[in-house]
């Protein structure tokens, strides 16, 4: 079991928990929270997918350079940084995804505020006028 798969499993679990909230809670705010949890689960999965067992952060600082040199010595050849760091792309993506999730959450909450203002109710079943 490596940490990547573990993160994946955890992420999926979070998604399920989030969906439980999303699908069963009547309170609008809890629904939003449910969504947030789902979103977080996805982010964990994203990071988990970029993870490679036993590697370090993709920052080419002094510490990494030392390890590069060390690894190169061990192998008897010049090792490149590619064998030492985790995949930086998912990390970049997750950054974007988080911000997007934040935007959605903020907007959802704004909706909740306004909806509440209309009917003084946070129950999702109070807002079923549009149907069929």
């Amino acid at each position: 079991m490596n940490f990547g798969s573990l993160a994946l499993g955890l992420g999926f679990l979070l998604i399920l928990i989030g969906f439980w909230g999303l699908l069963t809670q009547k309170n609008l705010i809890k629904i939003v929270i449910g969504f947030s949890v789902v979103d977080t689960g996805v982010h964990i999965i994203m990071v988990g997918i970029g993870y490679l067992q036993g590697r370090t952060a993709p920052i080419l600082d002094a510490a990494l350079m030392q390890r590069t040199a060390a690894a190169g010595n061990q192998a008897g050849a010049s090792a490149d940084v590619g064998s030492l760091i985790v995949d930086p792309v998912p990390q970049a993506l997750v950054l974007t995804a988080i911000v997007i999730g934040l935007g959605i959450t903020a907007l959802l909450l704004a909706y909740v505020v306004r909806l509440h203002e209309q009917r003084q109710s946070l129950d999702i079943s109070s807002y079923e006028d549009l149907k069929w």
């Binding site: 490596n2 990547g4 798969s5 994946l8 499993g9 999926f12 998604i15 399920l16 969906f19 439980w20 699908l23 069963t24 309170n27 705010i29 809890k30 970029g50 490679l52 067992q53 952060a57 993709p58 920052i59 080419l60 600082d61 490149d80 940084v81 590619g82 064998s83 760091i85 995949d87 930086p88 792309v89 990390q91 970049a92 993506l93 950054l95 974007t96 988080i98 911000v99 997007i100 934040l102 935007g103 903020a106 907007l107 909450l109 704004a110 505020v113 306004r114 509440h116 003084q120 109710s121 946070l122 129950d123």
Partner: protein, 244 residues
């Protein structure tokens, strides 16, 4: 109740879907083509020590622009969505505790400072514009917690936000003419690898992003602050919601 049972069954099925994913997912041993390219060429092409930043700001700059846009969008929407139609009655708020007030007075400048540090050094060390912006906004949260009635100049925030966004896009377009394309950070010389003034336009863009994110997040917060229902308001439900 029946609804919960259905939801439960559905989630079991969804768990089944995820299980299939887990079963079929193979953990990679090596960096794939794209990541390997970044690892190998990132340093020389962009000149940023932090590969994530290099990707965020340069290689996938369009995404970043998009995500800034999303924040901007959210802030804009909230600004007309949550706009108060009429002035509410003065809210009476319980005074914050001594601890909170003192802490905020001490910490907030440092928080802002840390935020600025994080986004200025985004290309060198962990962190970047978003992280820095978020830290700055968290400072604002602290301020607002201390004094919920504090007036934050939303106009100033908006100006800073717009200006940084505008300049960001402007620099991006400049890339088309001065370098390889939209958002190319090689408009400025690469500088010395690993120093503050390196990686071309990247730190500047990151600063702009940091400013923009910081102001936008702050803007979001102030919007929500403004709409808080006054004490003794006509909303038992909301209170219930808050307590849960």
């Amino acid at each position: 109740m029946i609804k919960k049972i259905f939801a439960f069954l559905l989630l079991i099925a969804l768990a089944g879907v995820f299980l299939v994913v887990l079963q079929n997912y193979e953990t990679p041993e090596e960096l794939n083509l794209t990541a390997a390219y970044y690892a190998e060429h990132g340093a020389e092409e962009v000149g940023a020590a932090n590969l994530v930043s290099a990707i965020v700001v340069t290689y996938r700059g369009l995404d970043t622009l998009g995500e800034v846009t999303i924040l901007f969008l959210t802030a804009s929407i909230l600004s007309f969505f949550l706009k108060q139609r009429e002035e509410r009655g003065k809210r009476s708020v319980r005074a914050s505790s001594e601890l909170l007030r003192t802490a905020s007075a001490v910490l907030v400048p440092f928080i802002f400072l840390l935020g600025a540090y994080v986004f200025i050094n985004g290309h060198l060390s962990p962190g970047g514009g978003f992280q820095g912006g978020a830290i700055i906004a968290s400072g604002l949260v602290l301020l607002l917690l201390t004094d919920p009635l504090r007036k934050v100049s939303s106009r100033l925030l908006a100006r800073v936000e717009s200006a940084s966004g505008f300049i960001y896009v402007g620099l991006g377009i400049a890339g088309i003419f001065l370098a390889g394309g939209f958002l190319d950070s090689r408009v400025l010389p690469a500088g010395t690898f690993g120093t503050l003034l390196s990686a071309g336009l990247l730190p500047i863009l990151y600063i702009l992003i940091g400013l923009k994110v910081g102001t936008e997040l702050s803007g979001l917060l102030t919007r929500f602050q403004e709409v808080q229902v006054p004490d003794g308001g006509d909303s038992p439900d909301l209170k219930k919601g808050e307590n849960v």
